[in-house]
């Protein structure tokens, strides 16, 4: 008996020790998250940072989750915002737009990041959810045409209809008359090779933007739009999926005569050649922060009451046609922790207006809002209330 009990006690002690070890290890993790040492952007603090009674450093944690597309920007904000307001810790995890929306509806986070808008069911379930666009991303078409000299030959030019036809499998060869007509200078260099199309295999906001654009470009596009769709060229055996921007880029790089869509930021960082587009106004445009801002300005008055807008196929003379917003979603009126609500509003205001914050995002290849849009977003942000009291930055 004693032998058994001895071993039993040993097991019990071992387990409790393990549990204790887990318990204690959680504490340092929490303290590690506190940004005691980060203060590079302290100089550009908004006036509001000095609240009447200063809160203890790291005492307010704003938890967010969702879109992986905006994750790099959120990460940069999380690093620098505590330098502006030491009381606040930003904790953002990239779990995907769908997970983010679910989390904010369930109330398990303070804000959600999403590339997709809320569908009617979610708006009903979330009651007072408000969507704030705060950055935009452009999508570009990268291609691998070995017959072109990247230095001396002009870039490939496509228009929306041709692009949709390529992804539908209607245009299958590079020397198709439609492509040749758009590229008179390099028409002789377009080979009689099949076009190999690459798309994102993982669910992605980039796919949402791109398929929104294809839907706008061509009434024949029937595959729909969303973070994941069923690609017509896959069926025909001339399409392939890559995991993330790197996966798509690798597929394009390894398969001659292929093309695919990637985030503008990624294409710039990796020096990928990407095509110019003929926009709705009939002008040839290149993807850039300016041309994307032009597209946002074109649609500045097209916001829904939830403050969402599709900004593809913009009508402006210099507007890039394949772009989309990424959003932060918060509860507009039902927040009960007013200190937290105050800090959340200050955080979003900082993201939108602070030059340093705008620069962090721009450096990562995101495109900040033009003034016309920013003003609209700030107007709505000013209407946030907590326990009936207005919250202002």
């Amino acid at each position: 008996m004693s032998k058994f009990f001895r071993s039993f006690v040993f097991v019990a002690v071992a387990f409790s020790f393990l549990l204790a070890a887990c318990g204690t290890s959680a504490v340092p993790t929490a303290t590690e998250a506190m940004p005691a040492t980060q203060a590079p952007a302290a100089t550009s603090a908004p006036a509001s940072a000095a609240t009447p009674t200063p809160l203890a450093p790291g005492s307010v944690t704003l938890t967010g989750t969702g879109s992986t597309f905006q994750f790099p920007a959120e990460q940069a904000y999380a690093e620098f915002f505590p330098g502006v307001d030491p009381a606040v810790v930003i904790n953002y995890t990239g779990t995907g737009s769908g997970a983010g929306k679910k989390a904010i509806i369930d109330g398990t986070v303070d804000f959600a990041g999403s590339d997709a808008v809320l569908n009617p069911d979610e708006i009903t379930a979330g009651k007072d959810l408000q969507i704030y666009p705060f950055l935009a991303g452009a999508t570009v078409i990268a291609y691998n045409l070995p017959s072109l000299d990247p230095k001396n030959d002009p870039k490939l030019i496509l228009d929306g209809k041709t692009l949709a036809d390529i992804y539908m499998g209607k245009i299958t060869k590079w020397n198709d008359p439609a492509i040749a007509a758009l590229n008179p200078k390099i028409a002789s260099k377009l080979p009689a090779q099949p076009i190999f199309t690459v798309h994102r295999a993982d669910g992605s906001g980039t796919t949402e933007i791109f398929t929104n654009a294809l839907t706008a470009f061509s009434s024949d596009w029937t595959a729909g739009h969303g973070t994941v769709i069923d690609w017509p060229t896959d069926k025909a055996g001339t399409g392939k999926g890559g995991n993330g921007n790197p996966g798509v880029t690798a597929e394009i790089a390894k398969n001659q005569y292929s093309l695919g869509y990637v985030e503008y930021a990624y294409a710039v960082q990796n020096n990928l050649p990407f095509a110019q587009m003929v926009n709705k106004a009939g002008n040839v445009v290149t993807a850039s922060p300016d041309s994307t801002k032009a597209a946002m300005t074109d649609f500045a008055n097209a916001f829904t009451p939830q403050l969402t807008a599709v900004i593809v196929d913009a009508p402006g003379a210099n507007s890039w046609p394949i772009a989309g917003y990424t959003y932060i979603i918060i509860h507009q009126t039902s927040m009960t922790d007013c200190v937290k609500a105050q800090k959340l509003v200050e955080y979003i205001h900082w993201i939108l207006t602070n030059p340093a914050a705008v620069k962090y995002a721009t450096d990562l290849g995101f495109i900040p809002l033009p003034n016309a849009v920013q003003q609209k977003v700030l107007d709505t942000l000013g209407k946030v209330t907590c326990s009936g009291q207005p919250v202002h930055w």
């Binding site: 008996m1 058994f4 595959a223 739009h225 994941v228 896959d234 069926k235 055996g237 392939k240 398969n255």
Partner: protein, 334 residues
């Protein structure tokens, strides 16, 4: 009266004493609880997958399993037909098992019977190291080395075979893409990944065969080849089948490496040389950014399907093992 009360206490103490004296009963209870835990986990997973996919089953019905490769999986339109992914999982695992079993058996026989002593230890280490390599490393190595060096040339060769009369079927419809990502690539990577599993267990099975069997076979005048082929392999067959089951399990569920080399396209011909999805790779890629509730539920149903297929194949293989074990005369094993 006093006596009775003491004796009562004694009985209680005695009972406890008897109960715990040798530790047999508590020990067996503890072990039993652990065994039940595995059952509980399996049932809990199945129950979760089943209940969480209730809406998908109600809304999609049997259309989900319609056996056509020309199927649609379009979350943008909430249409979900899973056959191409089921097919992808089965065909890649089939390729892997068909290729891996003879190779693994060859290695196992060599290691157990023919290997010179000096080579045995390093070779055993190698096999065990192969089994320990993370699948993402297999995937990376596949993309950068294995696919361009092996899969693309092999695929091109196979695509030319389709002009021959017996090969006109869709399985070798080419051409294979330049980078080699295809169902064939996934099958071949899986082959390499399951070889160590099957080899290590088969080797142990062969090593466990008593020497009397070998001596008897040799004594009857059989050659080494006859001894291995006609005595050792039949003797160890049920164990070897068990090894193949484990390998199959790994092939069916493998996600990362397959996702990296399979090309990820919902392709309609079913050719080995074209890109495809497996169930596991589709789940890994799409689960995170699933936006509509039905999309999530459809993927959970797909997870349930994968779970069920693995279970059914395992049961079938167990049945095979049982059949084999029954046919092997017991006196031969004595």
């Amino acid at each position: 009266m006093k006596n009775i009360s003491i004796s009562k206490r004694n009985t209680w103490q005695e009972r406890l004493n008897r109960f715990t004296r040798h530790g047999d009963i508590p020990w067996s209870l503890l072990i039993g609880a652990m065994a039940i835990l595995t059952l509980v986990v399996v049932i809990a997973i199945a129950w979760m997958l089943w209940t969480q996919s209730a809406d998908a089953r109600a809304k999609i019905g049997w259309d989900f399993f319609r056996p056509t490769l020309d199927a649609t999986w379009n979350p943008a339109k909430d249409i979900y037909q899973a056959w191409p992914f089921i097919y992808g999982t089965l065909i890649t695992s089939l390729v892997a098992i068909v290729l891996a079993v003879p190779i693994s058996l060859g290695i196992a026989v060599f290691l157990a019977e023919l290997c010179p002593e000096r080579l045995r230890l390093p070779l055993n280490w190698m096999i065990e190291m192969l089994a320990a390599i993370p699948s993402v490393v297999y995937g990376l190595w596949g993309i950068f080395v294995f696919l361009p060096a092996v899969v693309t040339p092999v695929g091109e060769f196979l695509s030319h075979l389709s002009v021959l009369p017996g090969f006109t079927g869709t399985l070798f419809t080419g051409p294979i893409s330049e980078d080699g990502t295809s169902r064939l690539a996934a099958g071949l990577i899986l082959t390499i990944m399951v070889i160590p599993t099957i080899t290590a267990i088969s080797r142990d099975v062969l090593l466990a065969i008593p020497n009397s069997q070998r001596e008897a076979a040799m004594g009857l005048g059989s050659t080494r080849w006859e001894m291995i082929w006609q005595v050792l392999l039949p003797y160890g067959l049920s164990g070897i089948l068990g090894a193949v089951i484990l390998g199959l399990g790994r092939a069916l569920g493998e996600t990362m490496a397959v996702t990296m080399v399979m090309g990820n396209a919902n392709e309609a011909t079913g050719s080995l040389l074209k890109a495809g999805y497996t169930m596991a790779s589709l789940l890994a890629l799409q689960f995170k950014e699933a936006v509509t509730p039905l999309h999530t539920e459809a993927m959970i149903e797909l997870g349930f399907t994968l779970f069920a297929i693995t279970l059914i194949l395992n049961l079938f293989a167990r049945f095979l093992v049982w059949q084999v074990a029954r046919r092997t005369p017991q006196e031969a094993r004595a």
